[in-house]
Amino acid sequence: MSRDNLQIDSNGQLRHFLSISGLNRQLLTDILDTAESFAGVTEQTVKKVPLLRGKTIVNLFFEASTRTRTTFELAAKRLSADVLNINITQSSAAKGETLLDTLRNLEAMHVDMFVVRHADSGAAHFIATNIAPHVSVINAGDGSHSHPTQAMLDMFTIRRVKGPDFGRLRVAIVGDIMHSRVARSQIHALNLLNTGEVRIVAPKTLIPAHAETLGTHVFHDLQEGIKDADVIIMLRLQRERMLGALLPSEHEYFELFGLTEDKLAFASPDVTVMHPGPINRGVEMDSEVADGPRSVILEQVTHGIAVRMAVMSMAMSPREIAAEQPHAS
């Protein structure tokens, strides 16, 4: 089985959620539609549906994260699943246990799903390949490879604000494309949804070598890159991933690529500004923009819960007989 179709079963249903590449437009739309119906659960007095009652979900985080882990945990709890948070950096890995041994032990506890965040690209694929067949794996970010639920919550946010027709949209992704698993997943998702134009905007040192082959237009100047853009997605400058001296200074980066109200004037008048968080204020973005009327940064966080509920429940659907239609009674 190839890396890409590992996440889809023979009926075309989601089995694992590892990366956007390998999925199709229909499946992405199904995820967005399902998330839309979960968004209403937060309006209930009891913010819970009993869909995954009795299932056990393990958040397996080999890398620190607050927002992603918290929204995965809330999503699982709103589906009535039991959630276990395991922070491996402080756990048995420190005692020398291998990843496979850790997995075997968790499997022996009869868990149903792993949500995995890891600093190495391909970690979620590795786990999905080696796990017992009834267990689903959701990638919550692996190295600089992929962060598919973040990309889907961004697509959900764009669809909510701009409507379902991605074909008329110009979307600019600005910042550290090179180290960004978020950008990679966003570009795949935007292309699958037939977005009118996808641009990436960054200094030459922060753009991967094969960037043009991703189906994007590459810009090295912020004003040109965001000209007439309908959506601007700012990426976090990943200081912890900057292995070499790729930038002269954060101050200079802000001068050239930081988003300010002045520069925003070049974009479309009803432009929407997004950021996956956490924001480095005064590095990628001025506070005035981050907290301004065009920003949907906090909506993105809210949408993250509904999108993760959708992905979890779809991956947990029983697979063999998923095609059978329920009868109204």
Partner: protein, 168 residues
Amino acid sequence: MTELEDTASIIDDMATRLGEYISRSGRADPAIVGIHTGGVWVAEQLHRQLNISEPLGSLDISFYRDDFTRIGMNPVVKPSELPFSIDERHIILVDDVLYTGRTIRAALNELFDYGRPASIMLATLIDRGGRELPIQANIVGRHIKLKDDEQIKLSGPDPLTLEIQKTA
């Protein structure tokens, strides 16, 4: 495939009896909630004919079904909308066909996740028997006996028509 009598006149008759039932039971100012999809169509008609002041509510019970572990997610789930507080309110729950009772069980559970209603009444266009749970409707449009390999389907919303089909 058999077509039934005029669906509109069954609903007119239901509305009359439902109105009488409400005034007789003294349950003032009720709200109507339809179950997707057919139940919402019937609920719209009852809502209009009974001049209910609260806007119509709708429930999609997909997330409350008892067969998720067998058949998984319903591909098209419509959001539930209850545009009023259900706390201390008399609720009229409306569905198109009452059969095993499992849909109503799911709808009751979902309603209670929105609050604590004063009471819940059930109105259904068709009661075809075959209950697997102790659930009965207060108002039934028509009682119909069906064979095990038959089902009754409401199409709509305009016009609403009922037909009996053989199941595959």
